[in-house]
Symmetry: C2
Subunit: 154 residues, 2 copies
DNA sequence: TTTGATAATGATAACCGTTATCATTATTGT
DNA sequence: ACAATAATGATAACGGTTATCATTATCAAA
């Protein structure tokens, strides 16, 4: 946490930007909360800590954090972009429960290897990829889901 | 083509819907043209064949065709949804060139098998998945790209 | 073939997440 | 403390999609 702030401050110095209390608050909330938040979800959490912070600042800070490499933008086609912290996390893909909205993070070196092979076979140069698998999570199948996430729209 | 129309008419009868000249025209254009079109791109093509057809009809017809299983909606996070014909095509995923906007369709039973294994391991029940790999296609690497597709916005 | 119930259409307004604008405030190197 | 300028907050604008509604077209039944 302290470490994260320092890394961000380094990035800010490099880019001639400025560290602000708003950015501090927003990063704190991002780290404190479950990932894959929409701008609006994060905005509500930020407002509880500091009601003076505006929506635009949250939106702009999320762009800033994506540029800095601290966050990734995740688009699951449910109407708005989501953001997750990636510093300190391995690359991963997602199982997404259509009932409770839960994200299950998956990583398989085996899978990545085959993807890389396919890319190579087409002479393609990959920059990024995303794999999203939609369905029903094990908890929702048993009606035992305790997730407080709102179900995904659609 | 004649076959496709018949299958759609069957679906329409089952659902108590109606076959119209507009739907005929729109389906013709979808089959005649490259896939992964936005609503607006399809609208422009449709208008050349019949300028009296409105944008809303194209948009609504695309939804209808998705419901019917004739089209899939493809979201590559470039600002608008795209649609592709899937009847008569195997399931596939996409390599997407960020330079020229080209879609390269890939299918690997090996890959699908590993995905299925991961899903099983989490007790997840899959309904759909999508894998999108972004980068630069082989033609664009050599500046030989002949694709008339507009580069993807970003 | 006419008819009646109602699905579909076209024009356009509304919607909604995101981005741009702009006057004001805050940060940072000097 | 100061000057340069990045960041902020309120809100308008933007753009793709969807809703509205009066009118027209479809199609099964008579
Ligand atoms: Mn994740
Ligand atoms: Mn395709
Ligand atoms: Zn669930
Ligand atoms: Zn290309």
């Amino acid at each position: 946490m302290k470490d994260v702030t320092e890394k961000l401050k380094e990035y800010i110095r490099r880019k001639n930007l400025r560290w602000t209390g708003q950015r501090q608050t927003i990063v704190e909330q991002l780290l404190r909360t479950r990932q894959h938040l929409t701008t609006d979800e994060l905005f509500r959490k930020v407002q509880k800590q500091d009601p003076s912070i505006g929506y635009a600042t949250v939106a702009r800070t999320l762009h800033f954090l994506v540029d800095a490499g601290f966050c990734d933008q995740v688009d699951i086609s449910d109407g708005s972009m989501r953001y997750e912290v990636v510093w300190g996390h391995e690359h991963h893909d997602h199982l997404i429960c259509s009932v409770c909205g839960k994200f299950i993070e998956i990583f398989s070196p085996e899978l990545e290897k085959i993807q890389a092979k396919l890319v190579r076979q087409h002479g393609f140069i990959e920059t990024t990829h995303k794999l999203q698998i939609f369905g029903t999570c094990i908890d929702c199948q048993k009606n035992l889901c305790r997730t407080e996430n709102k179900p995904l729209a659609k």
